[in-house]
Symmetry: C2
Subunit: 352 residues, 2 copies
């Protein structure tokens, strides 16, 4: 499922490093894209502002200019955003806002282990397909004062439309994978209406597509036991499709299985725009030390290219990364190594 | 934090096996309690009905009689409840209902690994303290038809009152543990109002208790990264306190770390009533085969006794279980063994 590559002469890419190690890993992704030469249209990068640090200086987390420039771009790479350690009035996460404003309804997170099992297959090889625009992320919250103190409420929204399009994305991705298996994650034993709607709508997608997904098998799993089984038998999963919050949690859980969040890429994909984003956060504990793992970002750039239809460029990046990870001699501390962000980046770029 | 043991001459215990393997493991817990002899007041068991299978026969999942009998009991043991595989009109989970009706506001789930690390300490030794009455479990859901199809909404409720009492429970439990450390789990970077209230209220508990919790240290973690770190560095956690849904997911994640859900007990505790409940589900795939692991239920009985103030009886059960698990010769298939539920139960009862 990729967008038309049209006949672009240039590839306009917005770069939004945002906070913390976001600033250290986005340049690495940029370097990887630059190394591709003529396999992609000439990339044209624009550096854009957003984030919690920007908010602290300017009073807004996502300037209009950033959004406007993105609207004129082909794609983007987002770094990571810090979370305030206390409630901060007026602050709202720019990544959550961008996903909604640009209607990037699918958060696609492939998680693949590097070490092979004896059979030669990766032990973990799955994609989390996370709905990206609704669920509790609609951020409709209220606060009241009742007889027993404060009462806060949040709305969890699940729509047929969003469930259908994320379901379709999951089935499309499954079609291109050897196992062609989709697991629907929900909690409909408690949330029979909202998660019931999600489950039924995703289940009903194949019937709308006239045989296209005939080969795809469907399973489902309650979110709590999905996390349990992810740890115990990760090989049962191929494509996991989930409402927003479950998808957030499950993708972190899956990342833990493959050694480091520093390896896991994602794209936020809509029908006309795609934004790569490493799954890791801004990592304030190591920010500024030049030791952040650039691989999640570099892989996010590859995944972004793949969604744009430039699979040759994507393959070249992924192959270079796989080699470096497998050899293991140049790696950052999260993987037990001693190398710097720059050294890992150089090693990958050299092989692209 | 335990209830007054008063001077009971009998211990009235309601047994609600409910569905699937619940029917196989609750008798095991009963046998363990019976084996204690004079270390607890003479147990008086009442067998009570509830569950999805009961609903399919009778049209209700939780008969009034069950609730009324529980109100006259000292405590209870609940087995497990099956989830309908499709939306079933009129059905609602009896365990979720019981927690609310009996105001069992704390779901306490200790997760301890059996295999010691070289230092002699268990690799995982934590308690999940899960709020048990609100969050998305208030089950306030609506369904509307909009221009783009169905739209479902659920309310997530977080109150100061419930957050405070679950916070207090977490701090009390931490006081009795060597590490005395509480980690607050939330997602306030997205849910700044509801999870903000949870976080601030739990953080404010020590200030209300005039020095009582001075020794307890507090940390916090976003739920997604909490699951990630649970897999990667479980030793950082001691007491994890969480809103209802995160607690549900986290306790399954933690269970995966210690080898089997079949080992993990819980209690649903209120101020005047406590109900033990294995963390595992009704396991339709193995129900009826007599091979379910009875340990989670037996340990839930011990945990129930502990909350009632009968720590001597609880210790005897836990010690017997620990011995059997450590020896590993009599164990059910979930732990790689070949023994039946009855054999494991007999082996434990023999040692009580
Ligand atoms: C930073 C945060 C708002 C975000 C999310 O919850 O979506 C992050 O955890 C992610 O997974 O991209
Ligand atoms: C059966 C289900 C309603 C329940 C829950 O979500 O609380 C179960 O998963 C549990 O953890 O006790």
């Amino acid at each position: 499922r990729c967008m038309s590559t049209a006949s672009r002469s240039k590839l306009k890419i917005g770069l939004i490093p945002a906070d913390g190690i976001g600033r250290e890993v986005i340049p690495a992704a940029q370097a990887a894209l630059e190394a591709l030469g003529s396999d992609i249209p000439k990339p044209e990068f624009t550096h854009l502002l957003a984030g919690f640090e920007y908010f602290q200086r300017k009073g807004e987390a996502l300037p209009d200019e950033t959004v406007e420039t993105l609207r004129e771009s082909d794609c983007a790479l987002f770094g990571a955003v810090s979370s305030p350690s206390k409630k901060v009035t007026g602050y709202s996460s720019p990544i959550v806002a961008l996903r909604k404003i640009l209607d990037l309804y699918a958060n696609v997170r492939p998680v693949v282990s590097v070490a092979d099992t004896p059979g030669g297959k990766p032990a973990v090889d799955l994609i989390v397909v996370r709905e990206n625009t609704e669920c509790l992320y609609v951020k409709q919250e209220t606060l009241e004062h009742g007889p027993h103190g404060k009462e806060a409420r949040a709305t969890r929204l699940i729509t047929e439309r969003a469930s259908r399009r994320i379901g379709r994305m999951a089935f499309e991705l499954a079609l291109n994978r050897p196992r062609k298996h989709v697991t629907i994650i929900h909690k409909s034993n408690v949330l029979s209406v909202t998660d019931g709607l999600f489950r039924e709508t995703v289940r009903a997608v194949p019937a709308l597509e006239d045989g296209r997904y005939d080969e795809v098998t469907i399973a489902e799993q309650l979110v709590d036991s999905a996390v349990y089984r992810l740890f115990r038998e990760p090989h049962i999963y191929d494509v996991m499709v989930a409402p927003n919050l479950y998808g957030d949690i499950i993708s972190d859980a899956a990342a833990a299985l493959v050694g480091s969040l520093g390896l896991v890429p994602s794209v936020n994909a809509g029908d006309t725009f795609v934004m790569g984003e490493p799954v890791h956060g801004s990592a304030p504990d190591i920010a500024g030390q030049g030791i952040a793992n650039p691989i999640a970002s570099i892989r996010s750039a590859a995944l972004m290219l793949r969604h744009l239809g430039y699979s040759k460029g994507a393959d070249r990046i992924d192959k270079a990364v796989d080699e470096v990870v497998r050899e293991g001699t140049v790696s950052t501390p999260d993987l037990g190594g001693k190398s710097k962000t720059q050294e890992v980046t150089d090693e990958i770029v050299k092989r692209i």
